[in-house]
């Protein structure tokens, strides 16, 4: 039985399988429960007692060891949907969410795919095809030129004229590339030839295709993205921007909405460009168009993410729109039910990603048991997490433990609220980046709203590490705790309080120790 709100929809469904794990699986499974949909989780052996399995109505084990046999095993996941009678699949983010062939296979199996078409995923997933489509559609892209490398051809003339058009400093990128391979920056013309040859060599070796393109290197740019929502009836709107400029090696660390660097005019222009981009591929569902925003206010298309984003909550907090619920509605064929004019922006929201990693050791993932896990709560505080106290953190999966999201009337109070929430987030047993997040948040450049995407990588680490703690007090506390026998297995908290002192000290035990 599909839920009541789906009545009248042209492609209703009633049971959603979530092809993911961790916090996003929990988020989507909770949304399914709220929406009156039955839910199915899939899990690997090592996730058998994880929170997302507990959150689902039923669950299916994906047998095997590596990711290819489990969360990346499209046919096993479709089989799990068949065997449980799930008639829709939500992919979350990562894993199979941007695999066009999986979207097609789900479709071919007669299962509703909660996402855009395979065509949209494929077009936007390829840098070159996305870029040429954007140029065709009039969406600004970073000035650049593609240069094919043919054996024996004299490409240096073409290279020099392309470089002159693009302007310096510039970036040479492998067309087929990713992960920084085949990527070179060139600041002056005399290095162009050698860097080009190195990039083409690297690209050939890594991707079997030496084609490169060059584009202008934007310095001091911010990462600003627009959330779009499109339905199957041809409606497309945007839900304003998110600013994700606080990054560490291209990994987002803190995201916020609205951006402190986006004016109403820029928001409108960027929003229009994002909607144009989405329409150009016939996009359906929730998606994100990423832009680089230059310091002069110019912005350029970076890429489109054809799935729900990690940082989607900051948009939900400021617009009041539940994006996962909207994904459910659109997948059922329902209209958006909201027009561009009805999209509001209320207050300010910031998200911090809490990772099991050790900032003092080059952000290496840390492992262990979450012996104590006390997430903060209070007005305007939201924690999206896939773990709970007692869970083990292993190196098998992404080390993100939780997203701590706050909402407050303005940016200053949102920063204060996030800092306060981080300070009361108690995670013991595994090292985390919580302290690092607090330092980044309190840095003058972030507070002033003037950071760019290089900020974390170019800032002296000492500015972002905590002051040396008072070792003597820490030793005193640990030694005393050990003497008091405070441990998880035998906490004194389970004993009755002493009537006279209000403390748990047992007079007989104390006497016993004093007079052995």
């Amino acid at each position: 039985m599909s839920p009541e709100w789906m009545q009248g929809a042209n492609s209703p469904y009633s049971k959603v399988l979530v092809a993911n794990r961790g916090e996003i699986a929990v988020r989507v499974l909770q949304a399914a429960r709220e929406a009156g949909l039955s839910s199915v989780a899939v899990y690997s052996q090592s996730d058998s007692s994880s929170l997302h399995v507990e959150t689902a109505d039923e669950s299916v084990l994906l047998e095997g060891g590596g990711l290819d046999e489990t969360y990346l095993n499209g046919s096993a996941i479709i089989e799990a949907a068949r065997s449980t009678g799930a008639d829709a699949i939500h992919p979350g983010y990562g894993f199979l969410s941007e695999r066009a062939d999986f979207a097609s296979a789900v479709d071919a199996a007669g299962i509703r795919w909660i996402g855009p078409s395979a065509h949209a995923i494929e077009t936007m997933g390829d840098k070159i095809s996305a870029r040429s489509l954007m140029i065709e559609s009039g969406v600004p892209v970073i000035p650049g030129e593609q240069i094919p490398v043919e054996e024996g051809a004299d490409h240096l003339g073409a290279l020099a004229s392309a470089a002159a058009k693009v302007g310096y400093p510039l970036l040479i990128k492998a067309s087929a590339g990713g992960g920084g391979k085949g990527m070179r920056s060139v600041s002056v013309p005399k290095n162009l030839r050698s860097e080009f040859e190195a990039a083409a060599r690297e690209a050939s070796a890594a991707f079997g295709d030496g084609t490169v393109y060059i584009e202008r290197l934007l310095k001091r740019a911010r990462h600003v993205e627009i959330q779009v929502l499109c339905d199957t009836h041809g409606d497309a709107i945007h839900l304003n921007e998110r600013d994700c400029s606080l990054q560490r090696r291209y990994q987002k660390v803190i995201e916020e909405a609205p951006s402190p660097a986006v004016s109403p005019a820029t928001r409108e222009a960027m929003g229009d460009a994002a909607v144009t981009a989405a329409r150009s591929v016939g996009y359906v569902g929730a998606g994100t168009v990423e832009f680089l925003l230059a310091s002069n206010g110019e912005f350029f298309f970076l890429e489109m993410n054809t799935r729900i984003q990690v940082e989607h909550p900051v948009t939900e907090m400021t617009t009041g729109i539940d994006l996962v619920q909207k994904q459910f509605e659109v997948a059922a064929g329902l209209p958006l039910g909201i027009s561009q004019d009805e999209v509001t922006q209320n207050g300010h929201s910031i998200e911090a990603r809490v990772y099991a990693e050790d900032p003092s050791r080059g952000f290496l993932p840390s492992v262990g048991e979450l012996a104590v896990w006390r997430a903060p709560s209070g007005p305007g505080i939201r924690v999206d997490s896939g773990v709970r106290e007692g869970d083990s953190v292993t190196i098998e999966f992404d080390p993100m433990l939780a997203k701590l999201v706050v909402h407050a009337p303005d940016r200053g109070s949102a920063i204060r609220r996030l800092d306060s929430a981080l300070s009361s987030f108690v995670v013991l047993g595994v090292r985390t980046n919580i302290d690092f997040l607090r330092k980044a948040l309190s840095h003058g450049a972030f507070r002033g709203g003037s950071i760019d995407t290089d900020f974390l990588d170019s800032t002296d680490p000492s500015e972002l590490s905590g002051s040396e703690p008072d070792h003597h007090t820490l030793v005193a506390v640990a030694a005393a705790a050990q003497r008091l026998g405070i441990d998880r297995q035998q906490t004194p908290g389970t004993e009755a309080l002493d009537d006279h002192t209000g403390h748990q000290g047992d007079p007989f035990r104390t006497l016993g120790r004093t007079f052995p």
Binding site: S423, H472, V477, A480, L484, H503, T510
Partner: protein
């Protein structure tokens, strides 16, 4: 029992006084030298893993827990680790038996059954995560049992060596 903090060489010892569920710190030594600290007391707050720490008259809540040989302390909005080192790995629950302070591999065995050892004598070396850890005799006595030989894997807390009088 000695204490240290991660990435630091200093070893600390704490001398404690306990009364009515509260522990006050009489003195702390760093590498054998007493250090000046403000008056510090710790009492159980009543709920699991929570203590009230009073430093120089100011009381605050801290969360504490133990994993292996690490005490985790969350205080003033930050999490910290303190490592304890049982000299010689003496296990309080099993008098005369030396427990492994960490899981690992036995690298060398220097003690043999029937041997008389003095306090602090090096009996065994464990290795875990590429770090070596010496097992020292907690007191003088005669070795009555050696439970492992070189290359054996040991779990944390396994009895390594037993010492009689």
């Amino acid at each position: 029992m000695e204490w240290s903090v991660p990435d630091r060489q200093e070893r600390y010892k704490a001398s404690l006084q306990e009364s009515e569920g509260s522990v006050s710190v009489a003195s702390i030594t760093r590498d054998g030298t007493e250090v000046n600290i403000p008056e510090t007391a710790v009492e159980a707050e009543g709920r699991p893993g929570r203590v009230i720490v009073t430093v120089g008259g100011e009381a605050k809540l801290a969360h504490v827990t133990r994993t292996g040989d690490t005490w985790w302390v969350h205080m003033d909005g930050r999490a910290h680790e303190v490592l304890f080192h049982e000299q010689g790995g003496r296990s309080p629950s099993n008098e005369g038996s030396l427990g492994a302070p960490m899981p690992g591999t036995v690298l060398e065995v220097l003690a043999r059954e029937g041997q008389r050892v003095r306090e602090g004598q090096h009996l065994m070396t464990l290795e875990a995560m590429k770090m070596e850890h010496k097992i020292l005799a907690p007191r003088p006595g005669e070795i009555t049992k050696v439970h492992f030989s070189e290359g054996d894997r040991v779990d944390m807390g396994s009895s390594l060596v037993e010492i009689g009088d």
